[in-house]
């Protein structure tokens, strides 16, 4: 097996919130809690989760926009938070990103050409060479050559996202962090941009970290999938295993909802409320919304357990649920109402 291009080992990210007053205790929110995964070169790792699950924080750490509180993030066997300035410059060339909002990602005051060449110019590439490369990548993503001289507001959402992708590709990166790249797009445009991303991956041999909340979208691109809930990776494995035979109750519900083509929403997830990030539920974070939760789920947090080769899930009752023998005890209602009160 090829060595992984990206490897996360026990990543934690805690944010300290500003105090209410000088004497109040400082409060901490754990956005990412002990997350580990590996992405083999040339493949796509999809991360699924609701907003607030820590998936964007994960992406930002890989982009070095946030520093992990604990754990290691390795790219090509190099700890990206222990880089020399020269290594960091090389890393900036290796990794690029496409974000969700095609309106926010492009500076309204720069022409498309300048936006696309910005990463190249930052690397010290000469202007004329950068302009030529910009024309090349704009054509690669299916934009007309004259797009370079126009401003972002002259383009549609889909076109803007193509420009954002062109910009990311301009430095010939090996790794793209795609943070919900199609979530803000119209359904009709979505398919085109997804197809473009897949084509770019096949043509250029790119490695993707793809973040999404729409299972259908994640399934389209991903080789492996990780499901995040409240900062923890609750299930991880090959895409077809996780999405065809989901093991964790949370994943099962996501998959059932996706099959019903219902939008992923709190209401449809049913049962319990979203926990308060300042005081996460003890034990398993999902127990406040889980149909199978019992006393054990409140007592200790389940660890990831292998259920099939490479397919892991973190739930105490995996076997019973799979066998259909676990009674639906429902979320601990008392606990849920306490959570609501906090």
């Amino acid at each position: 097996m090829t060595p992984p291009m990206v490897e996360a080992r026990g990543l934690f990210k805690r944010f300290t919130l500003p105090r209410h007053s000088l004497f109040a205790a400082s409060r901490t929110v754990t956005a990412v809690e002990g997350v580990s995964f590996a992405i083999p070169a040339g493949t796509t790792f999809g991360v699924v989760g609701e907003s607030g699950s820590g998936k964007t924080t994960l992406a930002r750490m890989l982009l070095k926009l946030e520093q992990p509180s604990e754990g290691q993030l390795l790219v090509n066997d190099q700890d990206i938070f222990a880089q020399t300035p020269a290594e960091e410059r090389a890393y900036r060339r290796l990794v690029q990103a496409v974000f969700q909002d095609p309106y926010g990602a492009l500076s309204p005051r720069m022409r498309a050409g300048a936006i696309v060449t910005e990463p190249l110019r930052a690397l010290g590439v000469h202007r004329r060479a950068a302009d030529m490369k910009a024309a090349e990548v704009l054509e690669l993503v299916g934009m007309r050559r004259d797009a370079a001289s126009r401003y972002p507001h002259e383009f549609s959402g889909g076109q803007r996202q193509r420009i954002a992708i062109a910009r990311a590709l301009s430095v010939d990166p090996r790794l793209l962090v795609l943070d919900e790249p199609v979530s803000a797009l119209d359904v009709s445009v979505r398919a085109q941009v997804l197809a473009l991303l897949r084509e770019m991956q096949q043509r250029l041999g790119l490695t993707y970290l793809f973040i999404g909340h729409d299972l259908a979208v994640v399934r389209y691109l991903s080789d492996a999938v990780g499901v995040m809930y409240f900062g923890r990776m609750v299930e991880i494995g090959p895409a077809r295993d996780v999405l065809r035979r989901p093991a964790h109750p949370y994943t099962r519900r996501l998959v059932a909802l996706a099959a019903a083509e219902a939008p992923l929403g709190v209401a449809r997830l049913g049962g319990g409320t979203l926990p308060n990030p300042l005081s996460p539920p003890s034990g398993c974070h999902f127990r406040t919304r889980c149909a199978f939760a019992d006393a054990r789920c409140a007592a200790d947090a389940p660890a990831l357990r292998e259920i099939a080769p490479g397919h892991n899930a973190a739930c105490h009752h995996l076997d019973a649920i799979a066998a259909g023998t676990k009674a639906e005890t429902g979320p601990l209602l008392e606990e849920a109402s306490r959570q609501r009160a906090v």
Partner: protein
């Protein structure tokens, strides 16, 4: 609300004032300090005893009021302009630094801003003039010291919101240097708010300079400013109203017009997104 019409009159007055300030003496019919004891306290044209030669009348020394007002425009506008320019530059720089670096630097700069904003500006100006002495240079310095803090606060808040925007994050991902990000992304997106504040500030600066000059702590003769002309004419208010009314009107007109233009700019640029 329907879009307000452009304040054409206000813009015209502002442009006129700026032109008068830049050209100065060229426009004036007489030298501003040219005394003519044969034509003392001539009333404005149209009144009994007024002549076309002195459209706005003359003062107690027979100096042409129109020429004096134009000379006053020069000093009033140039001090205001210079003060706004320098105060704006300092404030913008400190605001950028505070917003960008955050942490202790931010706290230090912002506490200084709070301190400056907490002092009533006329009081601070009086204290500074008492300490530093009068003169055009010192007046500008005083106006800079009383004005920079508002730019710093404005720019800091702009920086805090702009630096979280995706295109700034993506620039960081691309390895663009912080200084380049500040100049290329942050400042251009903050520039409209800065411009609005600056235009509004011109009016404030004119008032401040006039107040100081009126109190005898600002511009000193033979230099001339609206506030000084007003102060000098005050003694004769009962017998020659035009000595005080013209400079007073000039101040009011300038402040109202700059404020109108600034306010219009603010309304135009505040609803974000409409580029």
């Amino acid at each position: 609300m329907p879009p307000a019409r452009l304040p054409i009159l206000a813009i015209a007055v502002c442009v006129l004032l700026i032109v008068a300030a830049l050209l100065g003496g060229v426009l004036a019919p007489y030298a501003a300090d040219e005394a003519d004891f044969g034509a003392v306290m001539v009333p404005p044209y149209g009144l009994e005893g007024g002549t076309v030669a002195h459209l706005l009348g003359t003062d107690q020394l027979g100096r042409d009021m129109l020429s004096r007002l134009i000379a006053g425009t020069r000093i009033s506008m140039l001090t205001a302009g210079a003060a706004v320019l320098v105060a704006g530059t300092i404030g913008v720089l400190l605001g950028l630094i505070a917003g960008y670096l955050g942490g202790l630097v931010d706290a230090a700069i912002m506490r200084l801003v709070d301190a400056f904003l907490a002092l009533p500006f006329i009081l601070m100006a009086l204290a500074l003039v008492a300490a530093l002495g009068t003169g055009v240079g010192n007046i500008i310095l005083v106006m800079i010291l009383t004005n920079w803090a508002r730019y710093a606060r404005l720019v800091r808040s702009e920086v805090l919101s702009i630096k979280r925007r995706d295109f700034v994050l993506l620039a960081r991902v691309a390895g663009v240097r912080p200084l380049t990000i500040a100049m290329r992304h942050v400042l251009p997106n903050a520039q409209t708010s800065i411009l609005v504040l600056a235009v509004l500030d011109v009016g404030r600066a004119i008032i401040l300079e006039s107040s100081l000059s009126f109190l005898g702590l600002g511009i000193q003769p033979p230099d001339m400013s609206w506030g000084l002309i007003l102060a000098q004419g005050r003694t004769y208010m009962g017998i020659a109203w035009w000595l005080t009314v013209w400079p007073g009107l000039a101040i009011v007109l300038a402040v109202v017009c700059f404020n109108t233009v600034g306010e219009r700019l603010r309304v135009k640029f505040d609803p974000r997104g409409a580029l």
